[in-house]
Structures are given as structure tokens and as C-alpha cells.
Symmetry: C2
Subunit: 253 residues, 2 copies
């Protein structure tokens, strides 16, 4: 049974794309068959994997009804990519289609080879429109990255409202996970933010905090994941450990 996980937070720059790419690769390195789908018109998942981000992808699946398997690309061993494609932004602004608009991604995945995978990770844009709704309706789980600063913490209440509304509309419950990202452990603020997240979301915060690590900011410029770029970095260690948290559904106390 495939686990479909949306990586989402309407707060910008918290590490959604970094988590999608590196958690995806870590799960593949642990022997799982993984697909990552880029639902963000910025198309930075492809860039981070060293793949041209102008190729057609999920945009033509959602706009034209093309099959996912016609746009699926090989990225690494056991890791495939469905890129954003250059026209994804158009889908955010379509008006026709009514309720059916929200279920296109779910239906396209069900009709594709991806439903036989172990994991599907979906990178989401920093907004709360139709792209995010499609990701939520297609997913059974949600990982919300929260970076170690106050505005990211404050933005969580809005994120929870968006999640609750989506569950009410679709009648479809999504299991929530949070992950601490960009943690500068020497900073008092970081420790305070993690403490508050653990307090507000007991049993839902994945065990491994992701530390701030310059290699994670550098590797996308080479089109490499952290595991291609620097296996012995703290970034590689943390995302490998996060993958086993996800596999074992291991939360911090």
C-alpha cells in the first residue's frame, strides 16, 4: 500500500523542497521505491535533482489529462520524478471544473504506476490554492516543515486552519507530522521554537530535527542531493535519520 505524503506549509522558505528531495533520496537509499511529484510552479525539485525544469510534467496531467507515466522521469536508483512543468501556474487559476478540480491529482496517481510504489512525496507551493488542495486530497499523510524561527511557528495556526478546512470539505482525514528544519542549535530561539512545537503537537513531531547545514544550501546549485554531494555532512545524517523516523512512524516525546 503506497504511502502518499504531501510536504506542505504556506509559510515560505521553511525547507519544503529541501525535505522532499533529500527525504525522497534517503528513503530510496533505504531500499524503498519512491516517486516525488513537484506541485510548486517554481519547479525547484527538478533543479535540485539536476534535471531540466522546462520539461512537461504534472502541469499537462492536470491541465490536459495526460497520463502521469508519460511524464515520469528517472532521477536516482529507486527514485523517480514527476516535474512541475512550465505551465503549472495556469492550473492554479483555472475557473471551470467545480469540485472535480480538486481531485485531478488523486485520480491521475490512482491510474498510474505510482500506486505500486512504496512512497510518493508531493512538494507544495507556499500558498493555499488549488495546487495545495489537490495535494491534500491525494495524500494520506502530511509533513509540515517548521523552521527554527518565530514567524514560521506563528504561521502554523493558519496552516492548521487550512488543513482542517480541507478535511471538512473532502471528508478525508490526513495524518499530520511536523519536522523541525533549519535548526541552529546554538540559538536560544531555535530551542524555544522546537519546545513549543512539541508542546502544541504531542506525538506528531518526527524524532530527528534537521540542523542548519550549509551543504544543504549548496547542493541544489550542483543539481545534487545531499547524499550525492556530501554523504558525511550533518545534513545527510539528519535526512537519513528522518527517513527511518518516517518508515517507523517515530515521533519525539
Amino acid at each position: 500500500q503506497v504511502r502518499i505524503i504531501a510536504i506542505m506549509n504556506q509559510k515560505g522558505g521553511v525547507g519544503k523542497t529541501t525535505t522532499t528531495v533529500n527525504l525522497g533520496h534517503a528513503l530510496a537509499l533505504q531500499g524503498k521505491q519512491v516517486a516525488v511529484i513537484d506541485m510548486d510552479p517554481q519547479g525547484q525539485v527538478a533543479t535540485s535533482l539536476g534535471i531540466d525544469n522546462q520539461q512537461m510534467g504534472i502541469d499537462v496531467v492536470l491541465l490536459e489529462g495526460d497520463a502521469i507515466d508519460t511524464v515520469k522521469l528517472h532521477a536516482r536508483d529507486r527514485l523517480d520524478l514527476v516535474p512541475a512543468g512550465p505551465r503549472l501556474n495556469e492550473f492554479e487559476h483555472i475557473n471551470e471544473g467545480g469540485v472535480e478540480r480538486g481531485h485531478r491529482l488523486r485520480k491521475a496517481i490512482e491510474a498510474s504506476s505510482l500506486s505500486d510504489y512504496d512512497f510518493i512525496l508531493i512538494d507544495c507551493p507556499p500558498s493555499s490554492g488549488l495546487l495545495g488542495v489537490n495535494a491534500m486530497f491525494a495524500s494520506s499523510e502530511l509533513i509540515v516543515p517548521v523552521s527554527g524561527d518565530y514567524l514560521s511557528l506563528q504561521g502554523l495556526s493558519r496552516m492548521m486552519q487550512i488543513l482542517k478546512r480541507s478535511e471538512e470539505i473532502s471528508g478525508h482525514r490526513i495524518k499530520l507530522w511536523l519536522v523541525s528544519t533549519r535548526m541552529q542549535l546554538r540559538r536560544k530561539l531555535t530551542a524555544e521554537v522546537r519546545k513549543r512545537v512539541l508542546k502544541y503537537f504531542p506525538g506528531r513531531v518526527l524524532f530527528t530535527p534537521i540542523r542548519e547545514n550549509v551543504a544543504l544550501a549548496e547542493c541544489p546549485s550542483f543539481g545534487k542531493t545531499i547524499f550525492d554531494y556530501r554523504k558525511k555532512s550533518s545534513g545527510a545524517e539528519d535526512y537519513f535519520s528522518l527517513a527511518s523516523d518516517v518508515l517507523n512512524r517515530r515521533a519525539a516525546d
Copy 2:
């Protein structure tokens, strides 16, 4: 003649809100009459100024045609706020109105007391929809914050496409400025990103780079600007200097 400046980048977490709040306060401290308008449904400008972000604001101006002066709040000496308001997200998804939808903010500002101010700064969401279009059509200048990492640099090409398309549609030219934010000067990556931004945008990069400074990440949690919170920090120094760059239109070579 009021200078209306949109602070915009569809890339998330690059310091748009931090720049709007602290540049706004710095300009006020240098004797200018300033208003900040929050066009991001996250409503974090109000939070950063210690003001309740559930009050009505620009949302009812855009949705109901209310006058800006009825929702304008006093924030600091010579610094007023028009908050986002809790319903701003609704405006992003309206369908009726055609071309007129894009000009509501401009018209509301022209009919308000804000047109007698020295500066109006407009914080934008990390997306490219109707809210961003309204901000661009209302502005004569644009400041694009670029943080010291590769994905922020890579996102610039898309930001420039959005700007070009908006200028073509509206026939209205906007003067472009960029500012380097979250610069960790010890990191090689940061220096490389700043070098490339200077190369691609000669004469358009504001002189002062904003250094990474934990006080800038802490102060929003107290509802304070950097000048309320820690006047002698590098964050306060940098934003004060950025304000005089903006006043003198001073770019780096």
C-alpha cells in the same frame, strides 16, 4: 510625490516581511511619513509590529470597496499600518471583475490619505496571483529581496518573467531594485550569490547587504521592530543603512 514600493518575490522565506517592517521603521526614523500595506494573507506585518492580525484591513478595501482610511492604524511615530485582515485570501480567488480586479489597490490608495505620504511599502505573498498583480499595478518601484542561497538566486528568473508580463499587461513600468538578505558573510555560497546578482543586475542592487542576524528572527516574537528590540545590532545597522540607500537611490557597483 509619494514613492510606492512593492516588496516582492514569489520565492518564499527570503525576508520580504522582515524588510517591509524594518525598512519601513528605518525610513520613519529618518523623518519620512511612511505607510506599510500587508498584501499577504499570512498577516505577519501586523504580528511583527505587535498589532492584532485579526482586525479588518486591506481585505475589506479590496472585497467590499471600503476606504483605506477607515482601516489604517497607527504603528510607530510616522509609521502607519494597513493590515492584511482575516479575509484577504478570499480576494486571491475571486473570479468576477475582469481587468478592473487588478487595479483596486491602486485606486484605493489614490482615494486615500496615503497619497500624501513620503513612502508606501507593500508586503507581498510568496505567490504570483491577483494580490501580487494589484501590488505591481499600484507601485512605481519594486524591491526584490534575494537571500544568500542558490534556490533564491535560481528563483529570480521566474520573478523577472512575472515582472515583465505585468509591465506588458499594464503598460506601466516599474523601477526594479534588489537587496541581498540573510547574508552569512563567512559562507562561500553567500559571496557567490551576491556576486552573481551584481553581475546579472548591474546598477540595480541596493548598496547595503543585510547580514544574517538572530535579533531579526527574534524581534517579531515580541511584536517589535529591530529598532525597538536592539538598536545596536547588525540588523538595525543594516536596515538603517538600507533606508538611506533607498532615499538616495544608491546601488552597488
